[in-house]
Symmetry: C2
Subunit: 212 residues, 2 copies
């Protein structure tokens, strides 16, 4: 393997090993020793790539941030109706989180830092606003029931997804996160969508408990 | 003040000062120094009542545990239909949490310990089971729509409440937690309840987005 490829592979191995520890234990309880043991690397190899545990955490948070920007852009670009795009975005996010420990660790690190202490949970507020924008657009098209408050639905969906992630993470390493997110959508969307709305796109149609 | 009353008052002052710090910062970042400064007490006075920071945290967790047992018992004893009892329990819990920092700190300490690391989040599982039991009873009475899965609804409600608490805690010290919990109920219950069900009890009827 050329030297540049080997360096890249080592950096990725560090990120992955650190992600596996951060994902399970959070930032404070993750030890560099455990990360090195998991990656099968020496301290020297580690410090060639990262100056500190914090630097690895920052890299993971940046990576998830880039990932979410791509997801948002890709659903925006599909030209679906807003509720279908929203649904697809939630389902894809849950599926990717369950499958990818590097993404999951970045999300956890970011959320633990933002949500554990008083302040503004910037990412959460950004998602609530984004979801509310999609819902407001759906309302303008007549896809929501009269009287539905897009902000209130956005708070409910985003809060429910956060809670689902935390429980799913503690109990199944997020293996059941996709099911939990689909349950949330199935138990909220029929309360707020107009009878005429139909889910479009490639994602499976959720079972509707209340037939339109 | 007799010595016994003074000792009781000091113990309560420590619990409250510690609760205010734990509620904001969590266990690890709360310093005993900050708690003492807040309570206006010396280390000597503190150690007369508690051997350690951990002992105060344990006392707060025990207190919230006793509180929830009372809430569950009181709603069970009212003889309401299961969905009304469930609704009342969620609303009362949110109102009490917003009003009582001692309760809130105990809940946070307990949840942070259970949910932050791999394992069984015992309290959350207990609540999910309790909520599922209420919902299953409602189903047997015909108060749920056909096809509604009590376990799935319980997961949705409990996850949504957990997420709502964390966001509300980070942004408003739980001041908007009562509103957020009512929003969750308003966006989920109409999806799962049968047309004939009506909320009973002393709590305000939620606005129903989908008229039965």
């Amino acid at each position: 393997m050329p030297q540049q490829d080997r360096a890249y592979a080592t950096r990725e191995a560090i990120l992955r090993a650190a992600a596996e520890e951060f994902d399970r234990l959070g930032y404070d309880r993750t030890s560099l020793t455990a990360v090195l043991a998991r990656a099968g690397l020496t301290k020297g190899a580690f410090y060639f790539h990262f100056p500190s545990k914090e630097a690895v955490a920052v890299a993971l948070v940046e990576r998830q941030s880039e990932f979410w920007a791509e997801v948002r852009e890709s659903w925006r670009a599909r030209g679906l109706d807003p509720l279908s795009a929203l649904h697809g975005m939630f389902v894809e996010s849950a599926d990717r989180m369950a499958a990818d420990v590097v993404l999951r660790a970045g999300v956890r690190l970011n959320a633990d830092r933002e949500i554990g202490y008083p302040g503004v949970p910037t990412s959460h507020v950004m998602w609530e606003k984004l979801v509310a924008t999609y819902l407001a657009e759906a309302g303008e098209r007549g896809d929501l029931l009269p009287g539905v408050d897009p902000d209130a639905v956005a708070r409910t969906l985003c809060g429910a997804t956060l809670g689902a992630r935390l429980i799913s993470s503690a109990t199944t390493s997020c293996a059941d996160f996709p099911d939990r997110v689909r349950e949330v959508l199935r138990h909220v969307l029929p309360c707020v969508t107009a009878a005429g709305w139909k889910l479009s796109g490639s994602h499976k149609v959720p079972e509707r408990l209340v037939e339109p």
